[in-house]
């Protein structure tokens, strides 16, 4: 498969297909709501998402639109396979903050529903009507070789024509996202290999 498009979101910027599309100002960490507004997206559900979903959603939104895929057509031949190392810890902490004080014990249902890492795959699938295989793996650390082998195996099993895959992580106010849109046939510029995944991530 080939990497048709990719996006990278780090602490201070977003890069899409090698071009910086947004940078945070004066050394601050990137604000995902500011990035959302900068990208001109209109999807009110975004504001209800936890940080991990926001980061994954923005990474996916840019490359899926860039590839000319719409939000209306059901996509049965597209898979989503994502990975990270902190699972939903950022939201787990936020939820814990709503229950740790006995005198102020008000568990938040809207925070609780995001205390699973794979919710981000669902949010992306719902937005884009992606109806193929959907999976999320929690690894000890970023590993281009594991990402490569798992995604390759998944695509072989499902015979998907496209796969949205990569790394989606968020902790301590810091996004760490590398999303790639793979297609079976493309312009052949970037082959989907462990080495290339590593190059795009570093």
């Amino acid at each position: 498969m080939e990497i048709k498009a990719y996006s990278r979101i780090t602490a201070d910027k977003m890069v899409v297909n090698g071009s910086t599309v947004y940078s945070s100002s004066d050394g601050e960490n990137i604000n995902l709501t500011d990035l959302y507004r900068h990208l001109g997206i209109d999807y009110p559900k975004f504001f209800k998402m936890d940080n991990l979903c926001k980061a994954g959603f923005l990474g996916a939104e840019t490359i899926i639109r860039d590839a000319g895929m719409d939000t209306v057509t059901p996509k049965k031949d597209c898979d989503i396979v994502l990975f990270n190392s902190t699972s939903s810890l950022d939201d787990d902490i936020a939820y814990n903050n709503t229950i740790e004080d006995d005198a102020n014990y008000f568990p938040s249902p809207s925070v609780f529903v995001y205390t699973l890492a794979n919710i981000v795959t669902g949010e992306i699938a719902i937005r884009n009507k992606i109806m193929g295989e959907s999976s999320f793996y929690v690894l000890k650390e970023f590993s281009s070789s594991i990402i490569y082998s798992v995604v390759k195996e998944t695509a072989q099993e499902t015979s998907a024509n496209a796969v949205l895959c990569g790394w989606a992580d968020f902790l301590n106010n810091t996004p760490d996202v590398l999303l790639m849109l793979l297609q079976r046939t493309g312009d052949g510029k970037i082959q989907f290999t462990a080495e290339n995944i590593n190059k795009l991530y570093r």
Binding site: T33, P44, F47, K48, F106, P107, S108, P109, S110, V113
Partner: protein, 85 residues
């Protein structure tokens, strides 16, 4: 009552993360669910928490929610009659 309705609208916007909505955009008598603000089941649970946290009201019977959460106005009327803080 007008003051409570405005206060409620601000709280709803905050707890439900209705980022692009202003208090004046919310019709006090419009349905909160389905049409109107288009809230969902998780939002309903969040409104129950809001009533308990800010006004000390615990809903004993969840079925009551259907009537109470019809609109901001019906919420305000219920809070006015049952608030403990």
């Amino acid at each position: 009552m007008e003051q409570l309705i405005l206060e409620l609208k601000k709280q709803i916007i905050e707890v439900l993360n209705l980022e692009d909505v202003k208090p004046e955009d919310i019709d006090s008598q419009a349905p909160l669910f389905g049409e109107g603000l288009g809230l969902d089941s998780i939002d309903a649970l969040e409104l129950i928490v809001l009533m308990e946290k800010n006004y000390g009201i615990k809903l004993g019977d969840p079925a009551q929610g259907k009537e109470i959460f019809k609109s901001v106005e019906t919420m305000a009327e219920y809070i006015e009659a049952n608030r403990k803080k």
